[in-house]
């Protein structure tokens, strides 16, 4: 009896010690406190950009040739270690078949080729800068590519009134972290140039955690039960564009794709 009592006490004490240790470690884990905005929130204002190959393929991949012969090495795909936790996307079998078809017909099907809005999270890791602009009510995420833009509602949450390319985003602060919850997507955007896709059941929860004056830890948890067997997470650092003249320029690409999309419908010149 006494032994059993001692064991029980020991277990309780040890559990308490472990809990305390975990609490201490996790309290120290962030290690970085961001400067504050005038209203006391972590200051994420600035122009940011991912530096990786996720826009080519969010999974790990070897270098490969350009899909367009004329572009040669300038259009070739650099290798990448992938940004998906666990390395491989948890596709449902039929969805994996569709991904592979997408990949095989990438030039015809990738919405990026047609200058369509990039969706989320792809907008964040396309090879273009984006600007975070913080106010108390709304945080804007303004992307250079195709003028894609998101309003993150911080105090007046919205429920998606209609499906959209960039979704409808509500945000909240968890300590140093900006958490953005986005729903209300259509099923038309892709995650990358390799055909990785989602359905209109997509739900994205992103975490922006400052890790130094000029870097952010970015995480996106993707949930889409129509396409994936379980939620998965991707993560990457975002880097501040520190050039003193850094700014978001126009990339109004509609004009650049008109011949691609409509050229075959041009009136034939009479000979």
């Amino acid at each position: 009896m006494r032994n059993r009592f001692l064991i029980r006490v020991t277990v309780v004490v040890m559990t308490a010690c472990i809990a305390l240790a975990v609490a201490l470690v996790s309290a120290q884990a962030p290690g970085y406190r961001a400067p504050r905005t005038p209203d006391g929130k972590p200051n994420l204002n600035g122009i940011w950009q991912a530096i990786n190959t996720a826009n080519f393929d969010i999974e790990a991949h070897s270098a490969g040739p350009s899909p367009v012969l004329e572009l040669g090495a300038s259009g070739a795909v650099p290798g990448g270690l992938g940004v998906v936790e666990g390395g491989v996307l948890p596709y449902r079998p039929e969805a994996l078949t569709k991904r592979n078809e997408n990949r095989a017909n990438r030039l015809k099907l990738d919405p990026e080729v047609k200058c369509y809005l990039p969706g989320v999270p792809r907008a964040v890791y396309q090879p273009f800068p984006f600007q975070i602009l913080q106010s108390q009510k709304h945080i804007m995420m303004i992307h250079e590519y195709a003028g894609a833009v998101r309003t993150v509602y911080m105090t007046d949450p919205v429920e998606a009134p209609a499906d959209s390319w960039m979704g409808w985003s509500n945000g909240r602060w968890e300590g140093e972290t900006l958490v953005v919850d986005t729903k209300g997507f259509n099923d038309l955007s892709w995650f990358d140039r390799s055909g990785n896709f989602h359905s209109d059941a997509l739900h994205v929860v992103e975490r922006f955690t400052p890790r130094s004056a000029d870097t952010i830890n970015y995480e996106a948890t993707i949930e889409d039960p129509k396409v994936f067997t379980r939620p998965f997470k991707m993560s990457m650092p975002l880097y501040r564009r520190v050039e003193p003249n850094a700014q978001i320029l126009e990339f109004r690409c509609v004009e650049f794709v008109e011949d691609l999309l409509y050229g075959h419908l041009r009136k034939q010149q009479s000979k």
Partner: protein
Amino acid sequence: MKMRIPGALVIVCFASIAVAAQAPAHKVSRTPDGQPDLQGFWSNATYTPLERPDNVTKEFYTPDEAVAAEKAAAARESAETEPGTVADVHYDFTQFGLDRSQATLARSLRTSLIVDPKNGKLPPVTAEGKRILAARAEQAKRLGGRWDSAQSNQLDDRCLIMAGPGPPMMDAAYNSNYQIVQSPGYVMILTEMIHDVRIIPLDPSTGSGSPRAESRGDGRLNAPTQVRQWMGVSRGRWEGETLVIETTNFNGKNPLRGSTENMKVVERLRRVSEDVIEYNFTVEDKSMWERPWSAESVMRKTNGPLFEHACHEGNYGLYNTLVGARLEEKQAAEAAPKKDSK
């Protein structure tokens, strides 16, 4: 679409504009970093034309006349087209977007947005301007008929840019809605037509009260002259309660009537009440107009949120009309030899 708003109410609205103009200065609240607060959702939907109609000689309507002018303009806009005619083939804007009869109207008693020149009309076009307009007409002719190619269509049919974002920002016929967000050192204006974003860095020397240390890479330095954009490159500053935005570096394709890449636009935004921002602008373009011209309008508070106007992604109209035009040509070509053989 019929106007469902009672005329008496409209008169009260116009009358209140006249009163508001004489009221003492509105005390504008401040953002946490000390800027006058312009944030929220705004509409500049108006029936007031840029240029004064030929048959109008005065600068302001009476409230009664303003109601009549608005009704006449609304009637023209909603005029029924004859079923079965080409003119009848168009979107029903009352269904497809919020047309002006359903929008928050930014009313004013002005007979034209242009206030300078005094006659409410654009200044005369320069000799250089006439050459430029002739060259553009020549180029449009080379592109052929409207349905010969995507490029021979108008900018809005191509989903390239609409009238909304400007600068200067103007009524876009429907969805003339804006969202203004301010952060330390910046003012951002999102235009619903067609999700165009204006990021306006503020001059730190004009006391917007912005902490600058964290805002590295904030684009306050001028852009090189080689950088040419549809919406130009904008820089802002606070002059007391007024936000002044100067924009240059246009690419000459901005939809503002005839403007060239040498255009400079100076806009002034001042919140005169909880619900109204006065919006004035001056356009200078020596390549097109003999002298600068100025206009005055208002932005009125409206309800959010803004919707995503993914125009290009859903541009079936352009695609289908091109398909239709090619089909008609094919049918005509097939019909032609038959006639000959008879």
